[in-house]
Each structure stands twice: as structure tokens, then as C-alpha cells.
Symmetry: C2
Subunit: 80 residues, 2 copies
């Protein structure tokens, strides 16, 4: 099964890439741009038949390795 | 409007972070894990009322700044 993990910084934490990109977009004339935030996507192929079980295993991988739960939020979607 | 840009490396290009993460997950006992691929998410707030117009503007931002079209694919979703 294909699983998509989206990892974003927790609200309120600084996002220097986002701030710099916001500035660069304004320099290019995109004045309509407001907040910009960076995050990561990790797609993982997982052998398994039960979507709920695969979801639980990948959430465990997030806690143990993929994300930093202290400063990041993550969302796991089993795409099938 | 909130817009989500998902940027992934083009198929066939090497993804060293993915390879290392695959190995680390197997070291932790997650033997069910197959291919792992890393990408980026950029969320952008854009002032505008017409979703098609906002989509076109953000695709232009991808070509000019946000993505590297030579080695990356991107998908733009206007979330509303």
C-alpha cells in the first residue's frame, strides 16, 4: 500500500524558509502572497492488507523516526 | 485562499534521503517497508477570488522560484 506522510512544523514555531520564500515572491512581484510554510512529504510503500493496521504502523514510524513530535505535526494517509 | 504545492523528485532520479530512511526503518524492524521517497510541501496563502487564476499564478511561482522543473515535479491544489 502507498502511504503519504505530511510533516509540518507546529503552529507558532519559526519557519525561516517560509519567511525567505515570502520575501523572494514579493521581490518577484507576487504581492498577493501571504504566509508561506514549508513542510515535508514522505511517501512509503508498505506491504500489508489491512489499511488500519498499515496506518497504525506508519504512525509508529513517525513517532520513532520520520517526524520530530516535539516540534512537528504529522498526518498519515493510506492511499491504497 | 490556501494553496498547497507538493514537490517531488522526478521518477528515476536518486533520492538519498529515501534510501537512508528505508534502511533505518528496516534496522528498526519495519520489514514491510518498500520504497521511500522524500518531497516538500509548501503552503501559500494567496489573496484572490478566482481559484483558476490563483492556481495559474502559483504554477508560475513554481516555475520561477518554488520548484526546480528540471529535476522536480510539482502539483498545485487550491484548498479554498
Amino acid at each position: 500500500m502507498k502511504v503519504r506522510v505530511s510533516i509540518t512544523r507546529k503552529a507558532g514555531l519559526s519557519d525561516p524558509e517560509g519567511v525567505e520564500t515570502h520575501r523572494a515572491l514579493h521581490d518577484l512581484g507576487y504581492d498577493e502572497v501571504g504566509d508561506v510554510h514549508f513542510g515535508r512529504i514522505i511517501t512509503v510503500e508498505v506491504a500489508g492488507k489491512d489499511a488500519a493496521e498499515v496506518q497504525a504502523r506508519v504512525e509508529e514510524m513517525c513517532e520513532r523516526l520520520l517526524a520530530n513530535p516535539v516540534i512537528e505535526d504529522y498526518a498519515v494517509e493510506v492511499l491504497g
